[in-house]
Symmetry: C2
Subunit: 121 residues, 2 copies
């Protein structure tokens, strides 16, 4: 079976500027996972090549790491994580001053308090 369904890893490397080593690494990070031929060869289609090109742009333009994009992907797929991170970030750096020092609110309590504050505002 000829591999007409996409580029092999070295062809994809040539095309995108990534090294074959990095293409495997990017796959292990869960960012770009090409399909496989019957015998296990990676086959990069137009979609994967596009993603690899824009991934490079993304990293260069914003000076972020692959692990950052991997975390963003995790934020996208794990709703509970996303909500908790968002709520943590949303917590005001300054206090409404009605919190008693000494007893910390759990996430659920904090969420409840914030909902009350929003509803009452």
């Amino acid at each position: 079976m000829a591999m007409t369904d996409g580029l092999t890893i070295n062809e994809a490397a040539q095309t995108t500027g990534w090294s074959a080593r990095m293409l495997r690494y990017i796959e292990s990070a869960g960012l770009v996972s090409p399909s496989r031929s019957a015998s296990g060869y990676r086959l990069y289609g137009a979609g994967e090549l596009q993603r690899l090109a824009t991934l490079r742009e993304l990293l260069d333009r914003y000076e972020v790491g692959l692990s950052d994009i991997a975390f963003a992907r995790r934020l996208d797929s794990d709703a509970a994580l996303r909500v908790d991170v968002e709520e943590w970030l949303a917590a005001a750096p300054q206090r409404p001053a009605d919190v008693e020092p000494g007893e910390w609110l759990s996430f659920e309590q904090m969420r409840h308090q914030r909902l009350i504050a929003v509803a009452g505002a």
Copy 2:
């Protein structure tokens, strides 16, 4: 002048379970920035103590790193970065098999047409 506006760094460390070293590190990561006394001492108020406690919960519960939360914060404050990351992640979640060029070209338009041509060859 007595520091009645908050806990000093070692008091905050005692209270939250973080080490004083880590409180400075967390501040350097832009996650929890206490106010300062006239002479430069960090003063942790109830809000900061709350954030430190929930930060620990967040890291433990999801096994994420401080750098991940710092990146989430950056995502929150940098709209352009957020949009570009979101669009990258949305481009091809999993195995689109055969993608129509018109679909994903909407992101970063013409610049990639050369790539697409090569991929199609």
